[in-house]
Symmetry: C2
Subunit: 241 residues, 2 copies
Amino acid sequence: MTNGKEATLHHRILSDIEGRIVSGEWPPGYRLPFEVDLAAQYGCSRMTANKVLTHLARAGLIERRKKSGSFVAQPVMQAAVLEIHSIEAEVRSLKLPYSYRLERRILREAGPADRQHLELSETASVLDLVCLHHAGERPFCLEERLINLATVPEAEGEDFARLAPGTWLISQIPWSTAEHKIYALSASADVAKTLDIPRNAACLVIERRTWGSSGPVTFVRFTYPGDRHALVARFTPGGEN
Amino acid sequence: MTNGKEATLHHRILSDIEGRIVSGEWPPGYRLPFEVDLAAQYGCSRMTANKVLTHLARAGLIERRKKSGSFVAQPVMQAAVLEIHSIEAEVRSLKLPYSYRLERRILREAGPADRQHLELSETASVLDLVCLHHAGERPFCLEERLINLATVPEAEGEDFARLAPGTWLISQIPWSTAEHKIYALSASADVAKTLDIPRNAACLVIERRTWGSSGPVTFVRFTYPGDRHALVARFTPGGEN
DNA sequence: CGGATTATTATGTATATACATGTTCAGCCA
DNA sequence: TGGCTGAACATGTATATACATAATAATCCG
């Protein structure tokens, strides 16, 4: 497999420079050698050095200024990648049997609250769904969802009795933009009863708004019992590689 | 602002192809034209087409296979970028005065719990800090931190009376890897008292483990009153640009 | 001496070219 | 028919070259 070498010339140069930066040998603000010097140093052409520096710049490790040169950037560490798995995958990774149940399915005109959630300016029909995801016998997650029928009219023909709306939607809207909001909330009486947890237990809430190329698609709120669920996010300077 | 032009040839090609993908015109699995055909189509060289496709592949929008060609990838939508600001910046963005107070500072040998938090195999000295961040008059966030003195011996000489340890650390360990864990928790009696919130109120907890090039650096747990704080994460196919 | 003009310099983008590498496919031979 | 071999092909990487662009440094002149 990939034994970490990837001995292409520009990977070697890249990880060398990356190493100097993350180790602190080249501290923030340090001006690194010019492209021509790097090229000479590594015995490669300027294009190759350029590629490496461009990559480092896109990864945020360096900052480039014309005429002045390239500088090690100030570490910002303001971004981490949050992995968002499907609930089914999440449950199965705990080696528990997954099951899904539709609790409610209402078709209606969007009210003011719906319009705010979906960021709709005009009125439209929405599908209001409530589902419950189980891990084994216990409720794992409560899903409250609005689907904008103006953008996804096909949703009206789906009953979502067996297929979770999230799963169905990714097959309909292939690529989309999403915004997440994550916070903690004490369980209301309703939520506590549905999730089978004590009243006022802390819950982790994830709200997601999704847009496709033709407008707002869906708004969804996932409520997890807080002590049984955690999100994990990772950050590595230089990113993927 | 960025008016979407960026009229370099390869940005135009890139956003054109990106558009076809996100709009669904080229659905997942679709084989896009070969590099030579794209080059001909846009009247550019193969190198330029290659650059664009390489970019799209790195962004995860397409998948490339030798001999076969390049294909629109299956949408995964499993990653979102979580922006993590400094607490001071966060408070100031709410237009509230920020203040910081050190509550505790203990130097000790790492116990089993400390070693687990820092993922230390051997024993070492750690600095155990508790700080409180205020927004105006109200407590905004409780910070409980361990610093590994084997990696950051300079921390022993800091009293952290006025400077928050997070701020100090990024000046010491310029570039680092971090892992975050986010969950909800009911406030214990202690936490409730410290944060001036009701007992059992839902709190948002963010734990962060940080590594530098020479080993584990710090473990920190931020506890926020859950109803007053939310994290926001965004995902756009194609990423930064 | 100061302000405008010009030259220099480093990066940014693009092209043409070359060869390497990994797949697929077609054809060959047993 | 079955398996092997090699040609064809698409991508991957690297080089040399060219010109554009932006910022600084140097120069010139009123």
